[in-house]
Amino acid sequence: MRSRGTGSGTRLSRWAITLVLACVSVSTIYPMVFLVSTALKGRREYLTNRYGLPLQPTLENLQHAWTYGRVGEYALNSVVVVVAAVAVSCIVCALAGYALAHLRFPGRRAAFLGLLGSMIVAPQLIIIPLHGQLLRMDLLNRPIGLILVYVTLATPFGVYLLTSYFRSIPVELVEAAQMDGAGHLQVLLRVIAPVGRPAIVTLAIFNFLWMWNELLFALLILQDDSVRTLMTGLAVQRGQYTANVPLIAAGLLLAATPVLAVFFAFQGQIARGMTMGAVK
């Protein structure tokens, strides 16, 4: 393919460029290969074959991590929180996005800037008062507490993303539906949601990724061992098994699997979601 970019295209420089890119990708891929193959090695094989692929792969570590490492239990807690938070966040942001993009009322612009502006309140500033407030509201150590906090943290960017996308939906479409006697909720469900689906799906994927990966709020809000999320479980246990690298690798691999699956399925969408706001 012809170069469409910025560099000059002699054959030598092409090879040099490919070599640089190859080296950098080895640096990102090899740790992942190391993670997967270590997770599949028995303790004895890990001692003799440290860097290669497993010659006698075993699922033993994965089973141990799942049951004794309690990855299974923690993963279930994470699924409950993340699925609920992703779903609620889509609803909250779609409602707000529709209002901001297609309804006219006094204070609309102020509400948009206010929601976006709340990002100024850094997480570090709120964790301490928030912790006390959740305690008083009896939301500490209950999944619903973390769900509400995640939805809140996801709101400014989510509203921003959906409002910008919904604005590009022609007013005529919305007005035609209103002429047919549809209420605002019906317009949202029948017109905005189907047409705006790409943006909503992108938002859901983006939220899934950071919520699944998040540590600070999960650690502070769900402290009880019985409700801990997967990342909290791994981070807190970290000290206990430091010598058993294959077991650690197995836990990490299990915890990364949902994220890796989403990554391989939706790479393009994730990239688009994350770069929204930077590229106009």
């Binding site: 560099g7 490919t18 990708s25 209002a99 850094a122 709120i126 928030l130 509400l148 990724l209 981070a235």
Partner: protein
Amino acid sequence: MRKRSRTDLMRRLARSGAVAGYLFLAPALLLVLVFRVWPGLQAFPYAFTDWTGAGAAAPVGWGNFAEMLRDGVFWAALRNNVFLSLAVPFWVLASLALALLIHDRTPGWRFFRGAFFLPSVLSPVIVGTLFGAILRADGPLNEGLRSIGLGALARDWLGDPAAALPVMTLVILWGIFGLGVIFFLAGLAAVPPEIFESARLDGARGWSMLAGVVAPSLRHVLEFWTVNLVVWSFTSLFAFVYVMTRGGPGYATMLVEFQLFQQAFEFNRMGYACALGSALFLLVFGVVLLQLRLMTAEDA
């Protein structure tokens, strides 16, 4: 009369969508007010007390802030934060360089793009724990070094006071540079190819191309990404520190956000931690404002 005009007004508002507008906005506004703005506002008064998290809090005036100025740990943490933010230009340039190389449609560019992007979707907990295991004194990196005769270089990478912070910075860079590549690729895709083409015909090469053509066309993305990284270097590295070093050895990798966490939830010094939070807030306030201005540039 008055009553009728009010119902008229209500009807007009309803038709224009005002009632629906406020109703639809209510959940978002309510959540942000209750769980973000209100706790954020409370942090400032707490910063002037000796609150321990339980019982009453006695006011201590500017005591917490005075203590902060004398607190060697705070200064060590601040120095480390500044070190990390000074690394930002290198993070930006590394991502930009890789994006430009990929943008040239080098064979296999799709693969490279995916390979670079992969680490940035992993949790800092996973990245930090994985590298924590790899970098241990008896870990695979050191064994590899010894097996190729470079045993003299082997050390406890995250336990060595001189090496810990630079090594942690590299791990964080590993976890994030690919997202920068994606940002710059998105930016490059939005630049009409003719701009690069005509600059090349005019004889622009190498640095003159980079500084004269590429950087100006990517100005918005460059600003956005740089500002994001600066904010992150002060506020989003908690998980890396928590799983890799816990601020050690000594205070070699202590960051302000981690000190805040320790003061609040390990030493129960909520008041002092709120003072640290307020300081952190003021430190990044200007940068966050810039971030928001960039996001709303078109709407303003």
